[in-house]
Amino acid sequence: MIAWTIYLTFAGAIVLLFAPRVLARWIALATTAAGFATSLIAFFQIPIVDLAHFKTIVRVPWVPMLGMEYHLALDGISLTLVLVTGLTALSAVLFSWDVEHRQNEFFFWLLLVVAGSYGVFLSADLFLLFVFYELVIVPKYFLIAIWGSTNKEYGAMKLTLYSFFGGALVFIGIIAAYVTAGSLNLHDLAEFPFPLQLQAWAFPVLFVGFAVLAGIWPLHTWAPTGHVAAPTAGSMLLAGIVMKLGAYGALRVAMNLFPQGFHMWRNEIAVFAVVGIVYAAAVALRQRDLKFVIGYSSVSHMGFVLLGLATANALGISGSVLQMFSHGVIAALLFAVAGRMVYRRTHTRDLDELSILQLNRALPFAAFTFVVASAASMGIPGFSGFAAEITILIGTWKAYPLAVWITGAGMVLVAAFTLRALKKSFFGDSQPAGSATIDPITAAEKWGAGLLMFATVAIGIYPKLLLDRIMPAVESMRFLK
């Protein structure tokens, strides 16, 4: 039934093309809510034992001559990511309630991104996965180029070019796997003994191709500019879901297909990840634009995901998946505050300009949300970020003790820049210059923010909910055996 997330979302997108304008956002809301509800039902109904393996749910021949199939499967990792996709999508729609310009189109593109992402997370056929993966790129371009702000053409173009570059690398890797093994089925491929020589070069090509989208340093520069240029919902989807596509691909395809290649290269991955965590945090400390701060914080947090993957033990990788969920929620929340709650009302994101507005008096709910989001982002216990980071760090202790301490320095930097952004944006000192009328927070925003805050606290306090489903799935993966 979880396959319905894909069908429902595509159906919603198509309906939007013909629906009258007044209904546009309601249709989008209904579609994303249905998607989220479906994933939630699946989450609570599917027994945990069934999630330990990547179990086929739909399998229909597509192009039999080339061995392509419409083949979907599900395990704990996929389910976790489907869940965060549903959640982020629903709140992204709620935070787009004020979009007036070409509404139908906006929500059409938005739903395409979401549907494509569901597809990637559920695909068990390599070609199908690639189709969904590429499907996400085009709508992202339009979302940013049409509805974006600040340097939108540049941001959109950069993001698209990076994505296509990564996509090309992925394509090479896929072809290499297909030609060698003669199958596109992920199950078969995961059993196939690829020659060592092939793995040595195919793994890095495939991994880097995916990691571009995950924002791996030094190929991360598309992320901050893209996030800044995108409309609020765009940033939320980009940081919340699209970056996860890359990390998911790296895990599901690159690492699982080429285990020896992975073990050859994992030290390098760990180095890049740690550099990314510290470097992005240091850069964020110097930014003036609130969205740039959050953009770089995303890169830093995704560094944790890559570090977890590089540990090559069940705990580290499970932490990584948990971090994908957690970062999806937290980044969406941060962008929602910066883009929708603050920027739409004050028309500035400059930290110095915001600091004279005393926004905590004008927008107490936004201030509260931002405090929660910042605490979660810093890795304060009780929020999902901590649960994920502590799991990753225990895993890292096993593999790279030194990296743990460098990462620790990175965590302090993250706290420093988050604190700086928090106090400048909401708790400025000087008196407000004249009482400019600032609209109160709308109900849609409250619902969206409430949903995301609930998710980060719930998983922060009881991460077992997800870890119970993620761990067995990770343990059954090939490179751990």
């Binding site: 009780g382 502590i390 225990i394 096993k398 743990v404 620790g408 302090v412 009881y462 077992k464």
Partner: protein, 490 residues
């Protein structure tokens, strides 16, 4: 069924929720109402606590995150109970100290819940959750409602503490990896044999030491404290010094000393030196202050230095007898309680002066005795208690610490006694300038204690006398725990 400790932790959180939705001017009343509940719960806990039993009591245990060894494990021993009671006393006292906005009340209640959790959690991950939970509220309280320089003070406070916390967290992760448990009792049992091998042990020790030393704070990690205490609103300063600083001391007793006996033993002279520096330098620094609040803040460092002196002395495993160790440890526990009470009271009185005069420089007042005899009288009691006059609560703890430490580390203790002398000078000078002398022009309009203030002052002062004259009821709380811990360290 929710256990009593869980209820104790949840009540203030519930209160925060209530306050958040209350009418703005009713906030403090609601906060105080919830404090009545927590006080009752703390009393029930005290009543049901078996003072003769060894080990943890009222244990609540549930699985939480088995993947990383985290358990929901709460329990109290004598030390925990003492701190729970202290928290339940200081918070209502702080709420009564001044008017507070709705947001401030909610944040204070969140902090209260975090403190109950910190003092009762017996699994590292759970403990760390509560330990960190107080950080953001404290930061916001200082940042939003603080005085001058609040931005700098709040940021410094947060980043220092956070740095220490991260170092501590990473160290514990390493320990977990080696030993596979986060359970305090299990770790304590393993401490004797050494938790980690070689350099890793030193690294872990350094990380945890840093985290706790910043929190206490111990010289030279104390520089955030005077700024933070000075600028925070009165009620917040009271909580910071009364209870929050005890988190660090508690961590030393509960974690560092049992887990790293060898490291502490080797470093003992250096650690003792740090404690003595805390005592002497902080006292001298207090002498040099002209701002009353800053002066009290430095004295706070000085008093916590005595706790550290006692702890390091008893863990310097020389030929010390069990009796001396027990004396030192009892002294430390007593000092924890007394410093919490007295320092909070001092901040309260400084707050009263500041409310009346708008300033708190030591030279902004003079001849107060002529106008406000009651305020001066009650305030002197707190001051005498702080400088350790026999018959008041401050004396008993310091006496035991000196008695216990002298047997082990005579020279260090002798130097530390200098601190006592300086403290006395500081208070004498303060009393002289504030209370006696000619009536300063600026102090002419100052009013004496109001009836509602008397209602706050009298019980607190009575408690000081009670502990000073008949301390046995406090000793009873932690006697068994002291004996048990002393045996562990010996």
């Amino acid at each position: 069924m929710v256990g009593i400790i869980t209820a104790l932790i949840l009540f203030p959180l519930l209160g925060a929720l209530f306050v958040g939705t209350a009418r703005p001017n009713g906030a403090r009343g609601i906060a105080l109402g919830f404090n009545v509940f927590t006080a009752i719960l703390a009393l029930i806990l005290w009543r049901d606590f078996d003072t003769a039993a060894v080990g943890l009591q009222m244990i609540e245990r549930h699985t939480w995150i088995p993947a990383i060894g985290a358990e929901y494990l709460l329990g109290v021993d004598g030390l925990s109970l003492l701190l729970v009671i202290l928290t339940s006393i200081i918070f209502p006292f702080a709420f009564l100290a001044q008017r507070m906005e709705r947001g401030a009340c909610a944040l204070m209640l969140v902090m209260q819940s975090a403190l109950y959790g910190t003092f009762t959690a017996q699994n590292f991950v759970l403990w760390f959750l509560f330990y960190e939970m107080s950080l953001i509220p404290a930061f916001l309280l200082i940042r939003i409602w603080g005085g001058d320089k609040r931005d700098r003070a709040a940021t410094k406070f947060f980043l220092y503490t956070f740095l220490g916390s991260v170092a501590m967290l990473l160290s514990f992760l390493g320990i977990y990896l080696a030993k596979g448990t986060f359970d305090f009792a299990a770790l304590t049992a393993l401490g004797k044999t050494g938790l980690l091998a070689g350099d890793m042990a030193w690294l872990a020790f350094a990380g945890i030491f840093l985290g706790l030393a910043v929190k206490v704070p111990l010289f030279p990690f104390h520089t955030w404290l005077p700024d933070a205490y000075e600028t925070a609103p009165t009620g917040v300063s009271m909580v910071l010094t009364g209870v929050l600083s005890k988190m660090g001391v508690y961590g030393f007793v509960r974690l560092l000393l049992p887990l790293f006996p060898n490291q502490i033993n080797i470093l003992a002279p250096w650690l003792l030196a740090l404690a003595v520096c805390s005592i002497v330098f902080a006292a001298l620094a207090a002498w040099a202050q002209s701002d009353l609040k800053r002066m009290v803040a430095y004295l706070s460092i000085n008093h916590l230095g005595y706790c550290m002196l006692g702890l390091f002395a008893l863990s310097a495993r020389s030929t010390s007898s069990l009796i001396d160790m027990q004396a030192a440890l009892s002294g430390v526990f007593m000092q924890i309680f007394n410093h919490g009470l007295t320092a909070a009271a001092l901040f309260y009185y400084v707050g009263l002066l500041e409310q009346r005069r708008g300033l708190r420089g030591i030279n902004d007042f003079g001849g107060l005795m002529q106008r406000t005899p009651l305020l001066c009288g009650w305030m002197s009691v707190a001051m005498f208690s702080s400088l350790g006059l026999p018959g008041l609560n401050g004396f008993i703890g310091e006496f035991l610490i000196f008695k216990g430490s002298f047997a082990v580390a005579a020279s260090f203790t002798a130097v530390a006694a200098l601190g006592l002398l300086v403290t006395a000078v500081v208070f004498m000078r303060a009393m002289q300038t504030l209370f006696s002398g000619p009536l300063a022009e600026s102090s002419r309009a100052i009013v004496d204690l109001t009836p509602s203030e008397k209602l706050v002052v009298v019980p607190v002062t009575l408690l000081m006398f009670a502990v000073g004259i008949a301390p046995q009821f406090v000793f009873n709380i932690f006697n068994t725990t002291v004996v048990q811990m002393a045996r562990l360290f010996a």
